[in-house]
Symmetry: C2
Subunit: 185 residues, 2 copies
DNA sequence: ACCTGAACACCGTTCAAGT
DNA sequence: ACCTGAACACCGTTCAAGT
């Protein structure tokens, strides 16, 4: 006599993602996830391999959402598109700070970084229009590294010497765009 | 009758740092640290408040070492000093990948980021010579963000589209230095 | 003053037994 | 086919008892 399914992988990932973001990495326990979806902890193992697998699924979900958010901005004037993509990146990280930080921490969830890498595909196309195909890769790496670093440090509260952070963002973005237009080093 | 001290905070931090770096975050257990320094787990609590406190001490130790490494390069021609500091930063991160990644993950060890921030003091001085005092802060933030982002992504294996990573490093550093020299946005 | 065994709460995970 | 209680190993932490 089959017992009805009382939850789903999608529900488990959604509940886990909410726990992770609202209460932190340590609060992502199999018990808390089970309570959130209305089953007992052992039942979760019918859908996910274990806690680390669940964390991977959560981060892949986050990475896919990031990719969609970036793709939406990858249209129109290239320089404007780059600025809009950088902003979308920053806003996404602010909305998902815990998950975003973990995305680039391979020790936290190996395999999740894989999915995050796809987010850069659209940017590479836009940058190619700006820098030419030869310089597209290093140029995309420069702006990606800068944006990711700025956002990570902002989230970590590492910018503490005062000053205007919005000015620092505009300064960085403006100079990097100008540098990319200027051509090879 | 006093019992002899069989270990020290310094030894505990050193053993913990080795475990963290060589075997990963999960391998940093109170049991493993106790074994490494030759006591039983409860004895560790005479020196550190607990595991999270130990992690904080480890990351502060790493941050202080990074500060020293950067300060050593902060001499001579400003542009050259910036390039040397960026390289020192990159090499340090490669030598301490696990700890470095955690440094900018405030959820991992709140308070450790505080110490990491000090590393940027020397850079700010050098940048001021290059960009002038008015633009020193946003300029330092641009290069710090770029270097940190590049290094983090390199460690995470996020640069997967082939190409020459050393060229991407030189391209980014060269363009950022040129942008800083060029003045306000 | 520091060390330790014993104990506790908590967590991830497995599995036999239920429906 | 999925669910569950019970059990196990492991981990962080506390504490009374030892020296």
């Amino acid at each position: 006599m089959p017992a009805h399914a009382q939850t789903s992988t999608v529900a488990i990932v959604a509940a886990g993602r909410r726990l992770l973001e609202e209460r932190g990495t340590d609060a992502l326990t199999m018990h808390a996830v089970a309570v959130a979806v209305g089953v007992r902890p052992p039942s979760l193992y019918k859908r996910v391999r274990g806690r680390s697998d669940l964390l991977r699924l959560i981060l892949e979900d986050v990475a896919d959402e990031l990719t969609v958010a970036l793709d939406q901005e990858a249209v129109g004037d290239p320089a404007l598109a780059v600025a809009k993509m950088a902003l979308a990146y920053r806003l996404f990280a602010r909305a998902n700070p815990v998950a975003y930080t973990l995305l680039m921490t391979p020790q936290a969830a190996p395999g999740a970084t894989d999915r995050a890498v796809r987010s850069s595909a659209a940017l590479l196309h836009v940058i190619a229009e700006l820098a030419g195909p030869d310089q597209a890769l290093p140029a995309a790496r420069m702006i990606t590294a800068w944006a990711h670093g700025f956002i990570t440090m902002e989230l970590a509260g590492a910018f503490r010497l005062g000053g205007d952070l919005e000015q620092a963002w505009d300064y960085g973005l403006g100079h990097i765009l100008a540098a990319i237009r200027a051509g090879p080093a």
